[in-house]
Symmetry: C2
């Protein structure tokens, strides 16, 4: 409002994308902030970036400067070992924060790749640290976001370390379902944005195994799958499957 009318059409766009008016604010960084605090966060988050399907917002080895809040679309993060294996370490959807891997060394340690045309809000990290020193609610929430990432990773470790293929895929589907619900989508019907190979990499399985288990679930009537379109028919059954150990125990 300090600029004359019509000079900066972009600034209008920026206003429209402010946290204070963002539909994802209840899931994202602004959680728990009061009005005045929210406005200060708006000041900080001025830039958005888009990534077409297949493009990355950062790559392993890039200097770390910002976190990214997924505004729309879908991302995966992958790490690549020296010998060429790569491992999907996470999938991220609207309202989730990507990039915290880079804080520790000030270099990113993974690639963040868009699985569909996507948009992120750029959160300059040093400014986030500045602001979170002044706004305890923001500091607290940011710490919670990081902590939850750790807890989520522990869950994946449990999954990879002690579950069998069926259990892993059931857990994966239930988790996706929950996250879609939180965003106002159907809990039982969604499109997978990732390939069988990416699911497999995340779950520590080969793509053929993922495909086979999908087919088995379909045969059993738990889900219906057609390529990337999944409809979950029997969520309780999937949940039950997660907590199953062979037959005994």
């Amino acid at each position: 409002m300090t600029t004359s009318v019509g000079i900066q059409p972009l600034s209008i766009e920026r206003l429209r994308t402010a946290c204070s008016t963002c539909g994802l604010r209840e899931l994202c960084l602004p959680v728990g902030l009061a009005e005045a605090e929210l406005e200060r966060l708006d000041d900080l988050i001025q830039v958005r970036r888009t990534a077409k399907k297949g493009q990355s917002i950062y790559r392993s080895g890039d200097a770390f400067a910002a976190l990214y809040a997924v505004r729309s679309g879908f991302f995966k993060t992958t790490i690549l070992s020296e010998d060429g294996r790569d491992q999907v370490t996470g999938f991220y959807m609207g309202g989730e924060i990507v990039g915290m891997d880079g804080i520790g060394t000030e270099l990113h340690t993974c690639d963040a790749v868009a699985l569909e045309d996507s948009e992120v809000c750029v959160i300059p990290f040093s400014r986030l640290e500045d602001l979170s020193r002044q706004v305890p609610a923001l500091q607290s929430h940011f710490h919670k976001v990081m902590s939850r990432e750790i807890v989520r990773d522990h869950g994946v470790m449990m999954l990879l370390g002690s579950m069998r293929a069926e259990e892993r895929l059931a857990a994966f589907l239930v988790n996706l379902s929950q996250r879609f619900v939180a965003r106002g989508y159907s809990p039982s019907e969604f499109y997978l944005r990732m390939t069988r190979e990416e699911i497999g990499s995340y779950l520590g399985l080969k793509l053929e195994t993922v495909s086979r288990v999908f087919s088995r679930f379909q045969d059993e009537g738990y889900i219906s799958v057609q390529q990337k379109h999944v409809r979950i028919i029997d969520i309780p059954k999937l949940r039950q499957l997660i907590g199953q150990r062979g037959g005994a125990c």
Copy 2:
């Protein structure tokens, strides 16, 4: 010094255990702090707790109130799923911070169990947040510590998701070796504080498999093992093993 002489013998103990005089300060929370800042951290960390082998400093479901810096000894963290499986999510030695899993929900999500008689410094979390709002260097370092935990977990996910038993155990041994070196111990000779079963749980293997791979490594001349005593003979070979994909690739 404000109390009269002899009244509080404990305070002397506390002085002696201040961060400013702690041998682990280059590995622990005080990294990067100036003298004056260090003293403020000393004010915050007044309490130590001991845990005998097998005891836990917190359990899953406990209210979260503090982080714990390992002062001496060795810990594991484990999560227990509803159906009774448990998964070791990490091993922690001197200078490492335990408890960040609890920040997100204000409840701990795992158990932290001492693998030998141990001692931790209690870091009240709300006071840590207060102080880190005032001391940017502390804030920054704390964020790095959390981020590194995330990166470490990603490494474990890679290990669990795409490595075979030999590679996993090689990676585990190399990792332990590095951490012992950083603490001034031998890189090639150490006592394992954990059982085969705990190693297996961490690495997503059964204890028999761990035992077999240890034996195989010994037969090949890479290491020498006797129960919990390990001597690494050929570290380069172990490193090479980590980055190996079958024969091809």
